[in-house]
């Protein structure tokens, strides 16, 4: 073995060893937290890996940065093939793919490396330009390490340059491959030759380039654990292990074991989260897409989903070494816990649980899960929450509704409509086709009651045999759960499940998307299994089947913009049904889209229990969204959620150019044949 081989082998071994050391250290850190296996529904996980990971579907949602990053990522993969050749060459002199690959295949390899290196170089240049000169908003922020990003981009550029120099100098020495196969290094080689570079210099350039490239690979690899570019290693596994795009039900909060003897409920520090949350911390690329779509952040609140994740990583790096080392800690290791010292109450309560951050994240991080666990801790362990929330909790306990209304007033909207209750039907030994679950807004809020009645009238007109629970209905528990009060939530949910099972209910149509999400998705883990649809889906189906008699008269041309409810859209992928309902209800109609629509829709601001909290800083979220909707020039806003109805209906009330808000069901009900 020659000296250079020996040195290289030494470097390789050192590089590999150091990397292995860091890898095992980072894995050990993950173990300070809880959480179990995440290997259910492998086919779905593989699909996510292929689509979100390899096909970069989420990355490509940004029309500029998307293709640039995708180029670098795909290029990276393709270039690994060449990297392997180089690393092996360092140890086994004379190793080359060309030695055993048939010529056409080898040319494909060479061309791929060339083109890729060229594309990556251009992409990196564009990315550097973007980061240094354009400075887009989401790449700024106090948790963003821009220096880190620029360093990495510079290293990648250097890797590409050194790679091309290696090829170019090799061509000068021995141009065995056709020019067409090395379209970048061939001209480069040409330049070197035209400059009359002496063979010694060429050899020197080759050696320097080769060693630089090889060592840069090892340096790059070992820099990753200390950089946000750790995502290069962990993002694909993270995408595989994530539940953010399934498997199982999306947006379902994990069930808490409230009987456990444990001292704490929820999480106040990173070791009380799951290892997956900590892995999310490793995976964050600081791209800021989550923060750029966060309704709270957009309107000037302190909350930044990116900060939540980066803080999780920071704290992990602080706490885990102490816990893992087993040495007696000096000082109180909890003094600097994640809650309060990193992530404040103000940030946590600003969240509307709209899930835009989770949806947008290209590496499948679940920011919302961390926020929810911290909220659970605040409420269950320390009883710390905004004081205006207490009456809502107390009303839920007392009345089974988040306001001061007694259960006996629940079915008042149905007076004179001749709608049977489950109790009445059960007494007659009958069962309905479907249970109409009204929800608290639909039962008590004056404006929402109109939607409730509209849906009921549509069901009747379509000849659907339905019933309501009436006074036996209780809040589905979503406000309590989203605000962190898991205890109250489970109490309410179990009560509802008991009622539903007592009547052997199977099919449910809900008035409200939150009821829909709870009863259809989250009740499962408590043993409630029902077929649940939201009223927009149900009505769309009825319209499709022609069961709803609509009057044929022309309804003057209207321009309507539909606002996607978070719990219908991002949580449950229901985007088309409400739009179909609008189109079928009003044939002469111009349905326009807001700038941010469907899965990019901006939340109305009521979710995450914020309906019961005061908004004290920044611009009102509902106003921000209403302005966007009004800017479409629509004369009506259509919604499918009573909370969106309230928030958007209230926004801009009393001003000129106020755009009224209606539920899609009201549009249909207004067109029922008399």
């Amino acid at each position: 073995m020659s000296l250079s081989q020996g040195i290289f082998l030494f470097c390789l071994a050192m590089g590999a060893a150091f990397f292995a050391y860091n890898a095992q250290r980072l894995v050990r850190y993950l173990r300070i937290a809880g959480g179990g296996s995440r290997l259910n529904d492998i086919p779905r996980r593989i699909w996510n890996l292929l689509s979100i990971g390899f096909a970069q579907t989420k990355i490509l949602r940004d029309p500029v940065a998307g293709p640039l990053h995708a180029s670098v990522f795909w290029g990276f993969i393709i270039l690994q093939v060449g990297a392997i050749e180089i690393l092996v060459q360092g140890v086994a002199r004379g190793f080359a793919y060309g030695n055993f690959l048939p010529a056409p295949l080898h040319w494909v390899f060479l061309l791929s490396q060339e083109l890729t290196a060229g594309v990556v170089l251009v992409a990196v240049a564009a990315l550097l330009y973007r980061r240094i000169l354009v400075r887009p908003k989401r790449l700024q922020g106090d948790r963003v390490h821009s220096g880190d990003a620029i360093l990495i981009l510079a290293m990648i550029a250097a890797l590409m340059v050194t790679l091309l120099l290696v090829s170019a100098t090799q061509r000068v020495i021995n141009s065995e491959h056709p020019v067409a196969v090395q379209p970048v290094s061939a001209p480069l080689a040409g330049i070197l030759m035209a400059l009359g570079t002496s063979p010694n210099v060429v050899e020197a350039i080759l050696a320097v380039s080769w060693w630089s490239h090889a060592l840069l690979i090892l340096v790059f690899l070992n820099y990753l654990p200390y950089s946000k570019h750790l995502h290069v290693i962990v993002s694909l596994p993270n995408t595989f292990l994530s539940n953010t795009s399934g498997p199982g039900r999306i947006g379902v909060m994990p069930l808490m074991d409230l009987e456990s003897e444990s001292e704490h409920f929820g999480a106040s520090d990173v070791d009380q989260l799951t290892w997956k949350n900590l892995l999310d911390g490793y995976t964050c690329t600081e791209c800021g897409r989550c923060t750029s779509v966060c309704p709270a952040n957009i309107t000037g609140k302190l909350l930044s989903p990116r900060k939540v994740v980066i803080d999780t990583r920071k704290r992990t790096m602080e706490l885990a070494p102490q816990l893992v080392s087993g040495d007696a800690p000096n000082g109180d290791i909890r003094e600097h816990r994640l809650l309060d010292k990193f992530i404040t109450e103000e940030e946590l309560w600003a969240c509307t649980s709209c899930r835009a951050c989770v949806y947008e994240c290209p590496v499948s991080i679940d920011q919302l899960e961390i926020i929810n666990e911290l909220r659970r801790y605040l409420v269950l362990s320390e009883s710390r929450f905004p004081e205006e929330v207490q009456p809502a909790f107390e009303a839920l306990e007392r009345n089974g509704a988040p306001w001061a209304f007694s259960p006996s007033s629940r079915a008042e909207w149905a007076a004179g409509l001749d709608i049977p209750t489950m109790a009445e039907l059960s007494e007659r030994g009958e069962t309905p086709e479907v249970l109409y679950w009204v929800g608290c807004m639909g039962s008590f809020d004056e404006r929402a009651k109109k939607t409730t009645v509209a849906v009921a009238r549509i069901l009747k007109a379509a000849g659907v045999r339905f019933a309501i629970l009436g006074q036996e209905e209780r809040c589905n528990g979503d406000p309590a759960r989203r605000m962190g009060n898991e205890y109250l939530y489970q109490m309410l949910a179990k009560q509802n499940i008991e009622t539903l099972d007592r009547y052997k209910v199977k099919a449910i149509v809900t008035n409200c998307p939150h009821c829909f999400h709870q009863i259809g998705n989250e009740y499962e883990s408590l043993g409630g299994h029902y077929e649940v649809v939201h009223h927009s889906t149900y009505i769309a189906a009825l319209l499709e089947q022609g069961r709803i008699p609509l009057s044929q008269g022309q309804a003057g041309a209207q321009r309507i913009v539909y606002h996607d409810a978070c719990y219908l859209g991002r949580y449950n992928d229901v985007y088309d049904a409400p739009r179909e309902v609008i189109r079928q209800a009003l044939p002469v109609i111009d349905v326009v889209e807001a700038k941010r629509s469907k899965d990019r829709s901006l939340c109305c601001g009521a979710g995450g229990g914020r309906m019961w909290m005061e908004e004290r800083t920044g611009k009102r979220i509902n106003l921000e969204r209403k302005e966007e909707l009004a800017a479409t020039g629509a004369d009506t806003v259509a919604v499918a959620c009573p909370f969106c109805m309230t928030m958007l209906g209230d926004a801009g009330k009393g001003t000129d150019g106020y755009v009224p808000v209606v539920d899609v069901a009201e549009l249909v009900a207004g067109r029922l044949k008399a």
Binding site: A404, E446, R447, G654
Partner: protein
């Protein structure tokens, strides 16, 4: 021939309106027993001068107890005084349910070993028993209660404003009632402090109340309400729970199920949505006017007259109109 004893509340040297209400109620009850209405009048030196007014409202005898120790409210000595007097064959002891009356009545009852009917809105004799009505469950239900005292008097506290002060003039006989024991040798020491702004008109006594709620948006906007009250000339200012919880107005101004229950001739609700707990406190008003910008606000369901509009426009206009109206005489 059993008689009825009543307690007259004097504060700051003035006879409170509720004392006249109680005197009238005592007169009516005494007539039902065919007996006399007696009143205890205690306070600092000179309090006996109020006996005449009590006589105007039906008191046959006034037991006057003037003592420096009674110049301030003295619950221990006062309750002893009343209880001692009440042991002389009275059928009932009536006490007006002001803040002090509600404090005094249970003490008197306990000292007498008597049963008590609290905060009643109507009172009548039914043979051996007293029958009274009393709002319960935050005013959502009216209970009719029966007190069968057996031997010994019953103690009754009266809701302010529920009984009307009616003239039934007679010459009142004055007797002195000396407290047994030293009324200054008490454990509970009370010192009255004047209110922060010495508004003379109390919510329980004002014929007109102008009340403000969240619709006023900020504490300083309560000036609108105060101006309107001033325009009426005989109005007191009230507030909703939301507003007192936020500290815009003192708690004692709160009208509602847990605050003051009022029954003025006219109640003007400004920027009040009409939550059920507020309505419980004012629904007994003779005439209710509501001003609110939300036509769907529940207050309009209980208001006799409602104006839908911006309080910042309507209230100043109303203030000017009332002033003009009063100027016309």
């Amino acid at each position: 021939m059993p008689s009825v004893l009543t307690y007259a509340e004097v504060r700051g040297g003035d006879l409170r309106k509720i004392s006249l209400e109680a005197a009238s109620a005592a007169r009516a009850l005494a007539d039902a027993y065919g007996g006399e209405a007696h009143v205890i009048l205690s306070g600092g030196p000179g309090v006996g001068a109020h006996a005449g007014a009590l006589g105007e409202h039906g008191a046959d005898v006034a037991f006057v107890s003037e003592h420096a120790a009674f110049a301030q409210y003295n619950p221990e000595a006062l309750s002893a005084l009343v209880a001692e007097r009440a042991r002389n064959g009275y059928a009932a002891v009536l006490i007006g349910g002001s803040a002090r009356g509600k404090d005094l009545a249970p003490r008197v009852a306990a000292k007498l070993g008597a049963a008590i009917l609290s905060d009643v809105t109507a009172l009548a004799r039914d043979g051996d028993a007293l029958v009274a009505t009393h709002p319960v469950y935050t005013g959502k239900v009216t209970a009719t209660l029966r007190l069968t005292a057996g031997s010994g008097p019953a103690v009754v506290s009266l809701r302010p404003g529920a009984f009307t002060a009616a003239p039934a003039p007679r010459t009142v006989r004055i007797e002195t009632a000396a407290p047994s024991g030293d009324p200054s040798a008490v454990r509970v020491q009370v010192k009255e402090t004047p209110s922060v702004d010495s508004r003379k008109l109390d919510l329980a006594e004002a014929p007109v109340i102008v009340s403000g709620g969240r619709g006023l948006k900020a504490a300083e906007n309560f000036k609108l309400v105060e101006d309107l009250a001033a325009a009426f000339g005989n109005a007191a200012v009230g507030a909703t729970r939301a507003v007192t919880d936020d500290g815009w107005r003192p708690h004692s101004d709160q009208i509602g199920q847990t605050g003051r229950q009022v029954s003025p001739a006219l109640y003007v609700a400004v920027g009040i949505s009409g939550a059920i707990q507020h309505i419980a406190g004012m629904r007994a008003s003779r005439c209710i006017v509501a001003i609110n910008k939300d036509a769907e606000a529940p207050i309009f369901k209980v208001a006799d007259y409602g104006i839908v509009g911006d309080v910042f426009e309507v209230v100043p206009a109303l203030t000017a109109a009332i002033r003009a109206q009063r100027a016309k005489g």
